[in-house]
């Protein structure tokens, strides 16, 4: 059962990823990315990461993708026309990407994964309770720092997207 779900979600993710890079119109790329996000959230559930699953659906498939759609709606439909100035770019990038994939694939061959140090209670693994416990005790400083990061990003976005006459 779990194996069937894994392969369905994996096929969805790969198909969405191919869609992201092959559609000409950016809006179709964004919608393909939503498919990838949903498939990945299913995989997170299979990996017993329930909280990450919820965050993936809300933050990524919800907020970030809506942001991309808003920007596309703002900028108007733009199709990619013509080719780049570098003539061999596609062939060259295919070569490099194949080399990178070969490296990754070779690295995954015959890996002995480390076994868990201590047995964890898997019935609470990845629940909101355990995530919150980790986030507010051991990871408190990184957690607060991400809030500062989000504040800086919000201020930067407001500054960048103001109109010209507005700087008083």
């Amino acid at each position: 059962m779990a194996i069937a779900i894994f392969f369905i979600a994996a096929a969805m993710a790969v198909a969405g990823g191919i869609g992201v890079i092959s559609f000409r119109q950016p809006i179709r790329s964004v919608l393909s990315l939503v498919v990838v996000m949903i498939a990945l959230s299913i995989l997170f559930l299979l990996l017993s990461a329930q909280f990450i699953f919820v965050a993936q659906v809300i933050v990524y498939a919800g907020a970030v993708m809506v942001l991309f759609l808003f920007v596309i709606a703002l900028l108007g439909p733009a199709r990619e026309i013509g080719r780049g100035r570098l003539r061999f770019q596609t062939a060259l990038s295919a070569l490099f990407v194949l080399a990178l994939f070969g490296l990754l694939w070779a690295m995954l061959q015959g890996v002995q994964f480390r076994q868990p140090d201590q047995t964890t209670d898997m019935s609470v693994f990845g629940t909101v309770q355990s995530i919150g416990l980790g986030l507010f005790t051991r990871f408190l400083y990184p957690f607060e720092l991400t809030s500062i990061l989000l504040l800086v990003a919000a201020i930067g976005a407001i500054y960048l997207s103001r109109r010209e006459g507005d700087d008083r």
């Binding site: 994996a10 890079i21 017993s48 990461a49 770019q89 990754l104 693994f125 990845g126 990061l149 990003a153």
Partner: protein, 126 residues
């Protein structure tokens, strides 16, 4: 003939718990998830290399970040250590901040001129 305690244990194991997929998830090999993450990362890399539209390049970067997240969560499951999931949450936040700032810069560029091709934005080449 199995002993009664073994039968009772088997029955208890079949009861779905809160983490319903947990029992089935343990049959899944970690390397499958890593392989899928590698494929998704490679697809994102291809997109960054061959697409011309800066917006699509941002989308492809999001795809690569998601592949990295999948790796983190897969190893978190393999080592039964929650740190990987917490780090995946952090990287999700960083990805959201990156998307916001990148899109704001793009909107600012598009306001001044049309930049349909990433090669037009080469003033900082030096």
């Amino acid at each position: 003939m199995p002993s009664t305690s073994a039968v009772a244990k088997a029955t208890i194991d079949e009861i779905p718990t809160m983490s319903g997929f947990d029992a089935g998830g343990s049959q899944l090999d970690t390397s499958w998830f890593l392989f899928l993450a590698a494929i998704l990362f490679i697809l994102g890399t291809i997109g960054v290399l061959i697409r011309r539209n800066p917006l699509v390049i941002l989308i492809c970067i999001e795809l690569m970040l998601n592949a990295a997240n999948l790796t983190l969560v897969a190893f978190s499951r393999q080592l039964q250590n929650l740190d990987g999931q917490l780090f995946a949450l952090m990287s999700m936040t960083v990805a959201a901040a990156e998307a916001v700032v990148g899109l704001a810069i793009l909107v600012d560029i598009f306001r001044h001129r049309d930049a349909e091709d990433i090669d037009d934005l080469s003033e900082m080449k030096g």
